[in-house]
Amino acid sequence: MKKNYIQDIERALYDVRDEDKSIYKSDAGLTEEIIRDISARKKDPPWMLEFRLKSLEVYKKIELPIWGPDISELNMNEIVTYVKPNAKQVNDWSQVPEEIKKTFDRLGIPDAEKKSLAGVGAQYDSEVVYHSIKKRLTDQGVVYTDMETALVEHEDIVREYFMTLVPPKDHKFAALHGAVWSGGSFVYVPAGVDVKIPLQSYFRLNAAGAGQFEHTLIIVEPGAKLHFIEGCSAPRYNVTNLHAGCVELFVKEGARLRYSTIENWSRNMMNLNTKRALVEKNALVEWVSGSFGSHVSMLYPCSVLHGEGARCEFTGVTFAGKGQNLDTGAIVIHAAAKTSANINTRTISKSGGAATYRSAVKVTKNAPFAKCSVNCESLMLDDKSRSDTLPVMDIEGDEADIGHEAKIGRISEEAVFYLMARGISEEEARAMIVRGFVEPIAKELPLEYAVEMNNLINLELEGQL
């Protein structure tokens, strides 16, 4: 028998862990004392402390979700919710402590910045250690900073928007996030400003058994344009880590925001991230989402099409290998007339991995002439792996134009034969087919991530007839 397998993601790069030298760690588990302590150390304004405490109350009342992947192994009492690295924030890369710098160097972050990015934020555990933004952009009024600084320098804006789109009562992890959030990015693009080169943020979780709860708040004012790239990774430990970040995107009238994420967390990570966009009249949000790492992921970026003619483009790829259960998809809420959405996803499962596509499309009564097209395709590379497609549609608006196409399949042996009949080796033929499967997504990814993804699809051939 022929046996083929696609290699596991090359994790060596990410799995180098640094010695834990943090100066402060909160006690494991979650109490009011811990929250007050975090808040005091972060020098929160009083309203933020209050917000955290209220979130904690909500957190205690809400149960864990009973649907989706099993997350029962997550013991919140063992999670150190806050880890402060031993570094102050700087804006000159040379001042970042050597070890932390090495980590980011390994990941190619400063290089990426030098090459093509307008601004870079790098978060190490819970605090942002490095931040820069091109002067030209600050001159135009663009703000790109960490959330803590934003809370000081742009308190009114933060207060107006913070967790209004993802309220703590939404679900248990949103409540947790509201209580313990730390770090993350704040971007404000004034009306009419076109940020031509992407801003990039990179999150890295180094300490064992820790949680990362960064908050990303992006406001794109009317007619403005932005591309924001977020990358995430963590080394491997034997204890479970938790990532319960929150992303809130406000896309005002006629504005455009492209939000690209590549998550390559290590295999001990529970990635329970909440992302939401509020899209106003004739505005566009584009999500590009790659999920490769983590032990369990539950990730369904949500677009609320709030203004007439608002649009959403969602492009996602998920790659689940051994021991992974990745439950990903998208949510679209059509809440105004003539809103439209395109959801296009590819999932691959191999070596016993489980990949689920889960989506919800809701067209409210207030949204006549809504248009939505969903195309989700899954590829299982062996008999041990599984793939599920769970699309939900709830259409109340009149004259809705809804299309849905789902495919779950395996590599076509006839296609392999066709390519081999052209002189291409069997393993290359299979790799080509898998690469071709994700190609519509790969071409949307930022280049360095597209290259990384192609490297993942590296086949090996074992045994022959």
Binding site: A415, F417, Y418, L419, A421, R422, G423, I424, E426, M432
Partner: protein
């Protein structure tokens, strides 16, 4: 060039080829005529090494080498090409990318992108294929005729020694058959051979047919010259069923 001796082939429990003999020399053009379901396509696929078929006895040699020990891609690299009756659609792989990958695999040399593109465009233009098709995914959304022309494009780009054409002309209109026929004629020369399965003499117009074979129930029952082609189109296969 190609020597098939007393070949027996099964697919699952079903015996499809039953004692087939065929010998194709360098630069020769052979035509295989036979009713649907007689095993002609199976023969082509077996020469190419399709895993679905099991050779129970017999031999296939190509330029003196036992083909049955070789994998499909190794056979292609030796210089055998199959123009599929129903070409596969492969999403995400462009025609240009696949052909360049194939040509590199066969030649063992790195091929420069721009130079290859130029070559490809020239051949596409001869076959009256819209140049945009180079950047389209392999056969995805192509009409039947476009898929067949795309096979001939691959034949001319890869330039093998032996072309196996499995009803490349079927389902094509008169003009398209003319284009395909011209493409095959361009490929054929004193070194390059063709084995053509067809129901239609038109594709042979520009080709010097050396041998024609009547194929019934898994074996060749009669071989002769080009005149067999017109005999069959006049009388059908009934007269040969007696002989078999």
């Amino acid at each position: 060039m190609l020597e098939i001796k007393n070949l027996y082939v099964k697919a699952g429990e079903k015996e499809i080829l039953r004692g087939l003999n065929l010998s194709v020399g360098k630069g020769e053009v052979h035509v295989i005529l036979g009713p649907n379901g007689s095993g002609k396509s199976t023969l082509m696929n077996v020469i190419m090494g399709h895993p679905k078929y099991e050779i129970t006895s017999g031999e296939i040699f190509f330029e003196g080498e036992d083909l049955t020990a070789l994998k499909t891609f190794e056979r292609a690299r030796r210089g055998i090409f199959l123009s599929f009756q129903t070409p596969e659609e492969i999403p995400g792989i462009t025609v240009e990318n696949m052909l360049r990958t194939a040509k590199q695999a066969i030649s063992g040399e790195k091929i420069k992108i721009l130079q290859f593109r130029k070559e490809l465009r020239a051949i596409m233009s001869e076959l009256k294929i819209n140049p945009e098709y180079a950047s389209r995914y392999m056969n995805v959304g192509f009409s039947g005729g476009e898929k067949k022309r795309n096979e001939i494009l691959q034949l001319l780009v890869l330039n093998p020694k032996l072309a196996l054409l499995d009803e490349t002309d079927s389902g094509l209109d008169v003009d398209a058959v003319e284009i395909v026929s011209g493409g095959v004629a361009k490929f054929h020369n004193e070194n390059n051979s063709c084995v053509i399965i067809t129901h239609n003499a038109q594709i042979l117009k520009h080709l010097p047919v050396n041998r024609a074979h009547i194929f019934l129930s898994g074996r060749i029952v009669k071989s002769g010259g080009a005149e067999l082609v017109s005999e069959v189109s006049e009388h059908g296969y009934a007269p040969y069923e007696v002989e078999s």
